[in-house]
């Protein structure tokens, strides 16, 4: 048994994300970089042996996910929840401008966003900071779902403006 196998066992035993600090707590003497190297090695092994899954870095941890090509089969077990275009727009505003108020969101979109906010809250992709006005921000769940390590991984929004001005 080597440390890499222990990392594998820990991530395997968790449904969802296992936080990096929990892994480091369970295996003394391992660094964040060392952990990343071991996960990369595990993923190489999975790839070489044609496994249907890999370990993915999301938000502040690691989790086992299926490879994309198996999605059509897995979908037959459980129909995935779909977000409307409106909800996706609201989510984009909160991801880029958050924490922000409903007024900011409505201002950018030019429409009322109440029902989209409800749906995003229900899916736990956003949360509320109490206060007046209430501020909306994206959750770790959002990072997990969209495969991001942090909000800094989002493409720079000014990039879109540049693309547009080249039209």
């Amino acid at each position: 048994m080597n440390t890499r196998d222990i990392v594998e066992a820990l991530v395997f035993s968790t449904s969802g994300t296992l936080r990096i600090k929990d892994i480091l707590g369970a295996i003394p003497g391992v660094s964040v970089e060392g952990l990343e190297t071991m996960v990369n090695e595990l993923n190489s092994i999975y790839h070489e042996t044609g496994r249907s899954f890999l370990i993915e870095r999301v938000s502040d941890g690691y989790m086992f996910v299926s490879r994309q090509e198996y999605a059509p089969y897995i979908k037959t077990l459980q129909e995935p929840a779909k977000l409307s275009n409106a909800a996706m727009e609201v989510l984009a505003v909160i991801a880029y401008k958050g924490p922000c108020s409903k007024q900011t969101i409505d201002g950018i979109r030019g429409v009322d966003s109440s029902s989209s906010l409800k749906s995003l809250l229900k899916h736990e992709l956003i949360d509320i900071k109490s206060g007046k006005p209430m501020m909306y921000f994206t959750t770790n769940r959002f990072l997990e779902v969209f495969g991001l390590n942090s909000l800094a991984d989002l493409p720079d929004i000014s990039q879109y403006e540049e693309v547009f001005s080249e039209e």
Binding site: G110, D112, I126
Partner: protein
Amino acid sequence: MIHEQGREFILHLSSFEGPLDLLLYLIEKNRFTLENLEVCPIIDQYLRHIETLRRLDVSLAGEFLDMASYLIWLKSCLLLPVNALESEEGEFNPARELQEMLMAYRAIKQASRDLSSRPLLFRDRFPKGSGAEQNDVAFMGMGSLMQAINAIRARTQKYVMNVAAIRFSIQDMMKRIQTLLKGKQRVSLDEVIQKGDRMETIGALLAGLELSKSSFARLIQRGLFSMIYIVRR
């Protein structure tokens, strides 16, 4: 009415996310760019669309009318001599304001498309244990708390009995549950209930019992006062 190649066409507002989306569509259709936007023809087209829809007695969302009145104001500003505006508001440029609003919206629209096209969890990538298992309801932060409070409020706000009670057809409710169960293995009673009043709740429960009697589904409740689930057999 809008004329295009001699024919009239009417836009369906439901295909637009809002007035800014409609404006972007009109700009693209006219092959204008946001950077060198000719504001007046776009304003005219927008107002003509809204007027047509109003004449057809289509109920318009408030935001489309708000935008119409904003655009009328904007056009009136543009028709004023430049000096009159400058003296009042310094470097006030209403057309630029509209342009910036549209650019910000377009950037967000593009960003939301890019987000959607990422490999999404539960659509393209599935975490271990997510297949046939229903995700447990986790308490997560203020959002869940507010939703729980709203759910309670929705359930308990009616203290006054309506004399003319609304009768729910059990048959309709059974159909509603069967439709919901087409997509998944089980639904909670809360998902079946739309308005949340007592009659509807009773109707949903009776419909669930009927379905259980006909062996289409069974009802599951883990403990006293916990959520009742209707599970497809």
